[in-house]
């Protein structure tokens, strides 16, 4: 099944630094989504970027999409301890109808105060 793969698997940074996570996928998409999961909780939708968009911002989040390279990146600026979580990208292929989202294995981000 088509799946996003996040890179790196784990990332540890100091509070105030920027965190960048990458996602690669295999086939054409309609949109790509990023989710956050705090320990012991369900996933929370962060941001969606459509295939005809190259960059999107939401607060301290910046997502880019390069459909020619089949990759996306999530940048969290000025990170905080509360950003400590796992981050997943998700896509649906084929991008229509009943197709469910397929999630990558996630990047585990630790922000050290």
């Amino acid at each position: 099944s088509q799946q996003g793969e996040e890179d790196p698997q784990a990332l540890s940074i100091q509070e105030g630094e920027n965190a960048t996570m990458n996602c690669s996928y295999k086939t054409s998409i309609n949109n790509l989504q990023w989710y956050r999961q705090n320990s012991g909780r369900g996933l929370v939708h962060l941001i969606l970027i459509r295939s005809n968009e190259r960059e999107k911002h939401s607060g301290r989040l910046r997502v880019t999409l390069d459909t020619s390279k089949k990759s996306s990146s999530l940048l969290i600026t000025a990170s905080r301890a509360a950003d400590t979580a796992s981050y997943f990208c998700a896509t649906a292929f084929p991008p229509s109808g009943n197709t469910p989202l397929v999630f990558g294995k996630g990047t585990r981000l630790s922000v050290i105060a």
């Binding site: 909780r41 369900g42 996933l43 929370v44 939708h45 997943f88 469910p100 999630f103």
Partner: protein, 112 residues
């Protein structure tokens, strides 16, 4: 939280016993999903539903069955639980046409 609840939240059961997990939503969404999450495997789709009595298999459906007799409830059944089904199970709904999903709080199942 999109009005999604899961029950039970924690369960310990013995190998070979049947187990049913319930997902309940209050917003009348058409699409509902069951995932399991295990270390090193991320989130994997078990079954999903695109309407009452309309369901389909996901990536890891063996050993699981589902039922959806009304819009608000999506049940996941392990007919005969095995230790390999020890996991955290998440239910999700899809809201709107852009495939954004919203997740329940999860059920931690331990099969001894």
């Amino acid at each position: 939280d999109a009005g999604i609840t899961q029950s039970p939240r924690h369960k310990v059961t013995e190998t070979g016993t049947p187990v049913t997990l319930r997902c309940h939503q209050t917003e009348n969404h058409r699409y509902m999903y069951w995932y399991r999450q295990d270390p090193g495997h991320g989130l994997r789709l078990i079954h999903y539903s695109y309407g009452v009595k309309d369901t389909d298999k996901g990536e890891v459906s063996d050993g699981y069955s589902v039922s959806r007799s009304k819009t608000e409830d999506f049940l996941l059944t392990l007919e005969s639980a095995t230790s390999s089904q020890t996991s955290v199970y998440f239910c999700a709904i899809r809201r709107g046409p852009t495939y954004e999903q919203y997740f329940g709080p999860g059920t931690r199942l331990t099969v001894t």
